[in-house]
Symmetry: C2
Subunit: 217 residues, 2 copies
């Protein structure tokens, strides 16, 4: 599969690197063509790894992974251009995290979500929100955390969600551990989990954790 | 111990009933003295169970449990009166859930929380937020859900949190499963978990579940 991964931060490099290891063709996209971080990543990952602009990454891809920071997510996708997202699966792993006077804030929150904003801005993209509830080491290596802990996904396109389940399976997340929470409106719930994740991270002194949903029936 | 439980809804009756079974003296408080639901509960629970106004419930109590619905929580506590909360542990199990056009909303959210509003409105109460992340059957019988699933608590008063840990232990939550997330500011994180809980509940078709935090270290 050909993936375009938007974002040369830790999340983009880690996800992109694992996708290359899995045998996929990956273009890591950044705001500028000559981003040294992207170039270095492509050189190190070698072979099926490329670097380019956001538009380069999406244009070459069958599936686009949005791994930029939440506050620039819509701008990055505008740089990509709707034509390079048309009918494509767009995996949105972002969190709309901002800081205000040192305190974490979500924007949007409660009445809207970044997942929904992206789907509205690019109605012909097939947005699936997932992976935003764990750190990027856990994303690509769930076995580092013990137990049958869960991921969540949501989106309006059932076929896109199935395709993302396959991707998650390759990353080490069996289908039974990926809970489908419904349409893209559920992105609010997934994003609003972030404050609890941040508090747990502060309490433990690390973010190598996840939650397992335990059911009475 | 003498408990005052505010609220004659399912949460108040269930928590109050279990506290009576555990040998505590419980007054279930409602807006009016002659609330038939409260009277019936006190008759059925018998012996150490009483019913009265919010103020009656708190006045008689060493520990007050705030189990009214979130949208009336501050009003109920105003009815109690600050003098009946002075220096008392106030266990806040509420969620600031409202509905707007059929959609769940939190009010306050992100920049504030109901837990913090209550602590600010009653600075001499020792507010501990906990139990708001599970349904009331799970609150009083965690063993109905398999696994070492977790509760969270937060509050500004360490001694109050220790006292609440003891209460939670009596309800079936060993200390090791109760994660202390810090000061009352963490109430934002606990309340913002609600949308995910609601989505999971809708997905499963029931709310007999909880999350277990799994850590790599």
């Amino acid at each position: 599969m050909r993936y375009g991964v938007l974002g040369t931060g830790e999340v983009g490099r880690t996800l992109g690197g694992r996708l290359v290891e899995l045998g996929h063709e990956v273009t890591l996209g950044s705001r500028t063509k000559d981003n040294p971080v992207g170039q270095e990543w492509a050189t190190a990952a070698a072979g099926r790894a490329h670097a380019g602009t956001f538009a380069d990454a999406a244009a070459a891809a069958e599936v686009v992974v949005n791994a930029v920071s939440g506050r620039v997510a819509l701008d990055a996708l505008q740089d990509v251009g709707a034509e390079h997202l048309h009918d494509k699966v767009l995996v949105d792993v972002t969190n709309p995290l901002a800081f205000e006077g040192g305190h974490p804030r979500l924007d949007p929150v409660d009445r809207d979500s970044l997942g929904e904003q992206i789907q509205r801005a690019f109605p012909h993209a097939r947005v699936v929100k997932t992976l935003n509830t764990v750190n990027c080491q856990v994303m690509v290596d769930p076995a580092r955390v013990p137990g049958d802990h869960n991921l969540f996904l949501c989106g309006d396109d059932p076929a896109a969600k199935e395709q993302v389940r396959t991707l998650l399976g390759e990353l080490g997340w069996p289908a039974g551990r990926v809970l489908d929470l419904g349409g893209i409106g559920a992105a609010r719930a997934l994003e609003m989990y972030l404050p609890l994740w941040l508090r747990l991270s502060r309490t433990f002194g690390h973010d190598d954790f996840n939650v397992e949903v335990r059911r009475a029936r």
